[in-house]
C-alpha cells in the first residue's frame, strides 16, 4: 500500500505510514481478521488524517523565539512518534494535541513579548522626548 501523503510503500497491514505517520487504515478499511488498536480504543479517525507531531514548530519556537516553552512541545512531538511506532494511534493523537497546545502557548508568549517590547520602546521614546525638552 502506498501512502497518500509521502508515497512510501508500506505493508498492507500497516496502521500508519512508517515514513510520515499518516493514518493508513482510515483510507482503506481494515481487514476484519486484523484487530487494530484503532478499533480496540474505539477511536475513529476521519479519512486520511495525519497525526502531526508539530516538531518543526516546536523547534522554531525554542530556537528562533528563544522560548523554553518549546521544550515540552518537542518532548510531546517525540511522544507522538513513539506512540505511532507502538501502533497506539489514540495515544499519539493525545500527545499531538499536547504538542500543539505547547506550540500555541509558545506562540502566545512570543507575541506577548514582542508587544511588551514595542510598548517599552514607545515609553522609552516618549520619555526621551520629554527629557529633551
Amino acid at each position: 500500500m502506498f501512502c497518500s501523503q509521502c508515497g512510501a510503500n508500506n505493508p498492507d497491514t500497516a496502521l500508519v505510514c512508517a515514513q510520515c505517520g499518516r493514518n493508513l487504515q482510515a483510507v482503506t478499511p481494515a481487514s476484519p481478521l486484523q484487530p487494530t488498536p484503532l478499533q480496540a480504543t474505539g477511536v475513529v479517525l476521519p479519512a486520511g488524517t495525519t497525526v502531526q507531531n508539530y516538531l518543526v514548530f516546536a523547534i522554531l519556537t525554542t530556537v528562533f523565539c528563544c522560548l523554553p516553552t518549546g521544550i515540552p512541545a518537542i518532548i510531546y512531538a517525540a511522544q507522538v512518534n513513539g506512540k505511532l511506532q507502538a501502533g497506539d494511534v489514540a495515544g499519539a493523537q493525545i500527545a499531538s494535541k499536547n504538542a500543539k497546545m505547547w506550540c500555541l502557548i509558545s506562540l502566545g508568549l512570543g507575541i506577548g513579548c514582542m508587544a511588551l517590547y514595542a510598548i517599552l520602546i514607545m515609553v522609552g521614546v516618549l520619555s526621551g522626548i520629554h527629557q529633551n525638552r
Binding site: C6, A8, V56, V63, F64, C66, I71, I75, A78, N81
Partner: protein, 138 residues
C-alpha cells in the same frame, strides 16, 4: 476559506520577517526584541544569536552566522524543508517526502538543544566559544 486566509497571513508574516532580517541587523538596530531569557536571567538560551545568525546568512556570511549560533545554521535547512512541506500539505493536501523520525532521535535532538543552551554559558575555554559571537573575537 478561513484556513487559507490564516495560511496567507502566516506566509506574509514570514516573508516580512525575512525582509526585515535582511535589511536590519538585530545586533545594531533596536527593532527586534531581545531574547526574553537573556534579558531576565543574563544567561544565553539555545536560541540566543539566532536572529543575528539568520541576518548574516541572508548576507551570505556563513562564518559569522556559525559564530553567532551554530545550532541555527545546522537546523535551518531542515526547518525550511519542514515548513515548505507543511505549506504544500495545506495547499494541495500532499507534503514533501519526509522520513519518519523515531522517538529516540527526537529526544536526542531535544537533549542536544538543552545541552547546547547549558554549555554555551560555561566560562571554560572550549565552551565559551559557543556564546553568541565569541568565535568572531578569535
Amino acid at each position: 476559506m478561513a484556513k487559507n486566509r490564516l495560511l496567507a497571513a502566516m506566509l506574509a508574516v514570514c516573508a516580512a520577517g525575512v525582509v526585515m532580517l535582511r535589511v536590519f541587523d538585530p545586533a545594531t538596530s533596536g527593532i527586534f526584541p531581545p531574547c526574553p531569557v537573556h534579558y531576565l536571567t543574563g544567561w544565553y538560551c539555545p536560541g540566543c544569536g539566532s536572529l543575528r545568525a539568520i541576518h548574516q546568512l541572508l548576507h551570505g556570511d556563513l562564518r559569522a552566522a556559525w559564530a553567532l549560533n551554530p545550532l541555527t545554521v545546522v537546523l535551518l535547512p531542515f526547518l525550511t524543508y519542514g515548513l515548505a512541506s507543511f505549506v504544500l500539505f495545506e495547499i494541495r493536501g500532499q507534503g514533501l517526502p519526509q522520513p519518519f523520525l523515531r522517538a529516540g532521535w527526537i529526544r536526542a535532538l531535544c537533549g542536544a538543544i538543552i545541552l547546547f543552551g547549558i554549555v554555551r554559558n560555561l566560562p571554560l575555554h572550549p565552551f565559551e566559544l559557543l556564546a553568541p559571537g565569541a568565535m568572531l573575537r578569535f
